[in-house]
Amino acid sequence: MSDADYFRAPVLANDTQALRRRLENTWEGEPGIRGWLSTVDHKTLGIRYIVTAFVFLALGGIEALIMRLQLAQPNQSLLSPEQYNELFSIHGITMILWYALPILTGFSVYLQPLILGTRDMAMPRLNAFTYWVFLFSGAFLYTSFLVGAAPNAGWFNYVPLSSQASDPGFNIDFYAFANILLGISTTLSSINFIVTILSMRAPGMSINRMPIMSWGTLTVSVGSVLSVPAVSLAFFLLWLDRRFGTQFFKPESGGHPLLWQHLFWMWGHPWVYIIVLPALSMVSQALPVLCRRPLAGFSLVALATVLTMMLGYGVWLHHMFATGLPNISLGFFSAVSIVIAIPSGVALFAWLATIWSGRPVFTTSFLYFAGFIVVFVIGGLSGFMTGSVPADWQLHDTYFVVAHIHYVLIGWNLFPVLGALYFWFPKMSGRLLDERLGKWSFWLTFLGINLAFFPMHLLGLRGMPRRIYTYPPDMGWDTINLIVTTGAFALAVGLLLTLVNVVLSLRRGVLAGPNPWDGDGLDWSVPSPPPPYNFAVIPMIASRTPLWERPLSHSYELSSLTYGYALDQGKEALSTTTLDALPKAIVKMPEDSLAPFLLSVVLTILFAALMIQSWWLVILGGVVGLAITVGWLWPRRKLAQTAGTLP
């Protein structure tokens, strides 16, 4: 084969049934269990991410309900202190790490290729690998329950409480290894998003025409790549301290416990933005469709998203205001913590302007987005209050902050996610969710969250500290705690209704058609559910709202959705330039493969072996893992590619 064989100009073609049949044959996955384990289709993987993350949400939710039963009345002994401590630790860990980002990753894995107008993620096998590692890291974490050694030093895992001296069991090691394993998944999936968004956009989708949701995903992907190493390192050092006698965090020999807090929050605070910004960008993506107008202030919102992430790196010390810092640090970090409200405000004003000047359609997903704004504002304002150091010295580590974090995580993450579920479920399943059941679910959820978490502000102002397994009756907290517990169950019932809705609608829902909400993005130009190849021809994009060009008459040119690059000689996609999205190369997409699944199994076993320090198993795992990696990366002529130029 000569070099010339690699050069090929892609053919422009019309979207025809013949082309679709050809693509179907090429892109169809294998059937059976083998196909199930080896698939690399971003749509399958995205749904798996979403389902798995919801399972973790359910687990974390059940843990929360048990804790709320314990706290419903003073001096109860439903749980022992150790059980309570394990529950609140695993609840926080599950929700923040195994639910909050993976659910957004799931929506992004499913939607990004569709809204960008491409056929899959840039690295489909890596995509499968990151999913399996995420799944197994969660299973690894929950194994700790089965062996009776669940993490018990909180999700923040402060040293020395988590040191070997005060916590000699495997509890903390489970968390450490599960966290590092998840960190691998997060980092790799972030890299995959960055490459996909920067180089796989449909031709013509220049950076300023990129959908707002891609801005969210791109921003937090860069954020993850830069911040996850801090926490992985922290857990690695902690493991060395715990098992090999190093002294990173031990004050008696020159280490310092605060080093842990710095490393942890250097990741931990950016993480808060990482797990909300993609959710906010889903609102910015979907809300305008339901308001029948493009997003107001698109560029401002995109800039605000990036700015929030950047400022998010300068606020970690506000978790440490009480640790005895010099005034100059307090002043600086306090100022940034207050100023970060500005870009969040920009997004808020943009949504308000969009609803105000648009024509809102009161569907369930719109209700979730409108309700989200209420919750968003409460969470933002309580955050603004804790940003002020002297006030935070009081608010810190009381239920005020518990209220704040739940308004942020439920308000800024779960509500947008539920709105997005009602919005994109038809795309994923081909069927609409039931609106009546959806509205019941919304009102119960909305009442539930406000009943469960608003009174927590009062508990905080009345001085109830966080992380206490019980409390005496004479503190003025009894009634409020009972209300909180009631609200928690209302919230749970609301969420359960959505689950019922999903199960029923999967079978009996009204058929959606390709574009049930008359949306503007490329995701609505393909059938529901989309075929394995997404787009029969790669569309050519002329504006930010390709499906709304005619009614808006924004652009002189029109996007071409049914005439474009066919790319039907094997599994192929198009790579484009970063800023202008000019066609750059034909990308050969990989076949399904068992390698990602097998490698993630081996990696998990390797981590378990490290944890129990079974060195022969470590070596075996390393060798087998290396062999699988070699097999995965072995060059194949079929996938050969050079930088082809287009005529």
Binding site: A322, L352, R462
Partner: protein, 345 residues
């Protein structure tokens, strides 16, 4: 989809809670750890209240805008999906965003200045403190040591800190084990006690009273029961209290107390100190003047004979995981030890 039934606005459920917030913070006398009322120059009620009021105002304004926007939307002709829904791009949205941006920048800038000014004003006491107290956080109680240049004036107590009113008191905060946080909400915010680092803080009570404190950093099994009390009294009363604390323990005269003393020396003195006796353990709290304190087990139980017996008989029932083991005393021994402890006035 057909036209939609009407729903009340989504903000309505939040409003009763807002009213509840204002009401409950007003009726706050029944919350010993509540921090919206307090006294002394180091409390920051003005700032906390200020931020709370700004937040409530912003909330009301934003929700009003949202409600009006929804109201406007509600009365427009209903849209049917899919297919025929109109799309348009009205102007003016960006201007509204800029207006909101400018307003919020002004407010946030003001708050930042206020914050920094407050930090500066409370970072050091108004005058040099005459009294320094070293607080060491243990699992799960507070070791309280009154420092003095004169060793004869130095003494140790636990879980109850007496201070004179109207003057700043300096605190040196230490922890040998894990991280805790020193917090007396009505007098001062939190300062952590961190192994390998000595933090200092100060507080001042302007009116006499009992101010409850609590460990605020999660510190393990009994974080929930790591309370304390700060008792502020006029200086003469404080001086009198200190004079009594400096005395060694009295020798018991009653027969059962004497027997209890013998049991105590045998079974309890490894961990507890009673000054003026051979008991010199430093693992548990100093019990020299146990009966002068209001509470037991780090403000977990009131200091009454029944509770005292119950605590000695089975600490693990009351504070599971506490470092005080069950001493397995016989019934008579238990009563004798209790009688002895009750002589430690």
């Amino acid at each position: 989809m057909r036209s939609h039934p009407r729903y009340p606005s989504s903000a309505v459920p939040a409003l009763p809670w807002l009213a509840a917030l204002l009401y409950s913070t007003a009726a706050r006398a029944d919350a010993p750890l509540g921090y919206l009322s307090g006294n002394g120059p180091r409390n920051v009620n003005h700032l906390t209240w200020g931020l709370l009021i700004i937040s409530i105002l912003v909330f009301v304004i934003v929700i009003a805008i949202l409600l009006i926007a929804l109201w406007r939307g509600w009365w427009q002709p209903k849209i049917t999906f899919p297919g025929t829904a109109p799309v348009y791009d009205p102007p003016g949205g960006v201007r509204a965003i800029y207006a909101g941006l400018v307003l919020s920048v002004l407010v946030l800038f003001g708050v930042t200045v206020w914050t920094v000014a407050t930090i500066a004003s409370i970072s050091s006491p108004p005058q040099k403190p005459r009294l320094t107290i070293e607080v060491t956080a243990r699992l799960w109680w507070w070791d309280v040591r009154y420092l003095s240049d004169d060793p004869a004036q130095t003494f140790t107590t636990a879980n109850e800190i007496h201070i004179p009113v109207g003057e700043p008191v300096s605190f040196v905060l230490k922890s040998p084990g894990v991280i805790h946080s020193f917090w007396v909400p009505k007098l001062t915010g939190k300062t952590d006690l961190i192994p390998g680092q000595t933090n200092v803080t100060w507080l001042q009570a302007d009116s006499p009273g009992i101010y409850r404190g609590q460990c605020a950093e999660y510190c393990g099994l009994q974080h929930a029961h790591m309370g304390m009390e700060v008792i502020a009294s006029q200086r003469p009363r404080f001086v009198e209290w200190r004079r009594k604390q400096l005395l060694p323990a009295q020798t018991p005269t009653a027969e059962t107390a004497k027997m209890g003393r013998a049991v105590f020396m045998q079974r309890c003195s490894i961990c507890h100190t009673v000054r003026g006796t051979p008991a010199g353990g430093v693992i548990g709290p100093d019990l020299t003047h146990l009966m002068s304190r209001r509470t037991l087990a780090a403000a977990t139980l009131p200091n009454r004979p029944g509770f005292l017996s119950g605590w000695i008989a089975d600490p693990q029932h009351i504070k599971p995981g506490a470092k005080m083991p069950m001493a397995s005393l016989s019934g008579p021994e238990l009563n004798q030890v209790r009688d002895y402890l009750q002589t430690l006035q």
